[in-house]
């Protein structure tokens, strides 16, 4: 009897613990966990200055209370950032189509500011059709980078070929500066929906 009760207690406590550890079985990976957490907690992102490809200095939570869509890149990236760049161009076009062009801006932020100078940022912008109006390419100060990546939950690791692997995604920051959604970069419909929600 004791054995049965003990087994029953563990059989109930175990799944409850796993439920808690996985946000209700929604997030088995760290990547899903940060997406669930963004939707649920809407954490504030740090107040950070960025240098845009035009040379202009801009704030991360937008000074003119716009929604900011953020992706992290490095301009020498041969793979994911290139396809993500194409995705972002489609998001930008979608924003214009939906009339959200004045309420939303897109920032590609380099996590390799030592390599990515103004020239590299401009070249990257040009090759992906980012003209600096809705979508611009930026870099943070080297000192601010760790704080920035931590706040967004972005992990960058060297790929043994001189490049990096990173959890690429599109991050939606609302006008109050809260991270309110994280999506796959190719989820254009989702991105436009999240931008619209964040702008209201």
């Amino acid at each position: 009897m004791k054995a049965l009760l003990a087994a029953l207690a563990v059989a109930l406590a175990g799944p409850a613990f796993l439920w808690k550890a996985t946000d209700g079985f929604q997030a088995l990976t760290a990547e899903d966990a940060r997406r669930v957490a963004a939707m649920r907690d809407r954490p504030m992102v740090p107040d950070i200055r960025l240098r845009a490809m035009s040379g202009e200095v801009i704030g991360l939570p937008s000074a003119d209370r716009k929604v900011t869509m953020v992706e992290f890149i490095y301009t020498t990236c041969p793979t994911i950032c290139q396809s993500a760049g194409t995705d972002l161009a489609r998001v930008r076009d979608g924003l214009v189509e939906k009339g959200l062009g004045d309420e939303v801006r897109i920032l590609s932020i380099s996590f390799d500011p030592e390599t990515d100078g103004p020239h590299q940022l401009s070249a990257y912008g040009e090759s992906h059709g980012a003209d600096g109006r809705i979508w611009t390419i930026t870099r943070p100060d080297v000192d601010a980078l760790p704080r920035l990546l931590r706040a967004f939950g972005v992990v960058v690791i060297p790929d043994r070929f001189g490049g990096y692997q990173h959890n690429a995604a599109l991050h939606v920051v609302d006008p109050q500066g809260r991270l309110s959604a994280i999506l796959d970069t190719d989820d254009i419909t989702g991105a436009l929906g999240a931008a619209k929600r964040a702008s209201q």
Partner: protein, 191 residues
């Protein structure tokens, strides 16, 4: 004897701790070497408790269930990432694997019915197979802390582990286990 066990467990534990960066630098040695070694520490330390008769642990079911949930938790890719990014989770790893996986596994296994053992062995092999498939076929990165190529390597490592475990458990069926030979020589003596 107990002293030797404690010494061995301590040695393995310090090895896991001292060469932490080495073990954790790639997912294969992290998941398939360091984690099992830590669990082994617990199993070694639990040996003296194995023969204690306890009503609550009849058939080893409770202890095995605890171990099962412990293993499940440490099979989550999220837990592996968390151990690397959060010092608290890393501490939890070094404590929970010996205490909540290794020790209960040893205590439960000693008491488990042979049928239950067989069932658990089959489960273990199929789980290793599932993990192998998952890590070799996942279309996305599963751990943010590790490279995609390492993820693939981990998948193959799971596959090799599954094969090794099958060989280890099935081979005795063909050549006869040690217990079987002991039993037979005893019956020959008696007869």
């Amino acid at each position: 004897m107990i002293g030797a066990r404690i010494l061995t467990a301590g040695l393995i534990f310090s090895l896991c701790l001292g060469f932490r960066d080495f073990f954790e630098s790639n997912p294969v040695s992290h998941v398939l070497i360091q984690l099992p070694l830590l669990a082994w520490c617990g199993a070694l330390l639990a040996q003296p408790a194995i023969n204690l008769e306890a009503e609550w642990n009849r058939g080893g079911v409770v202890a095995l269930l605890i171990a099962l949930f412990g293993i499940t938790f440490w099979m989550l890719p999220r837990s592996i990432d968390a151990a690397l990014f959060s010092p608290a989770m890393e501490v939890a790893k070094f404590i929970s694997l010996p205490l909540c996986v290794g020790a209960p596994l040893a205590i439960g296994w000693a008491r488990a019915h042979p049928l239950l053992r067989g069932f658990l062995k089959a489960q273990a092999v199929s789980m290793l197979g599932v993990m192998a498939f998952l890590y070799t076929h996942a279309p996305v990165r599963i751990c943010n802390a590790y490279l995609v190529d390492d993820q693939l390597r981990l998948g193959y490592a799971f596959l090799f582990t599954a094969i090794a475990v099958v060989v280890l458990w099935v081979a005795p069926l063909f050549v006869g286990s040690r217990e079987f030979h002991q039993m037979r020589s005893r019956s020959v003596e008696a007869g």
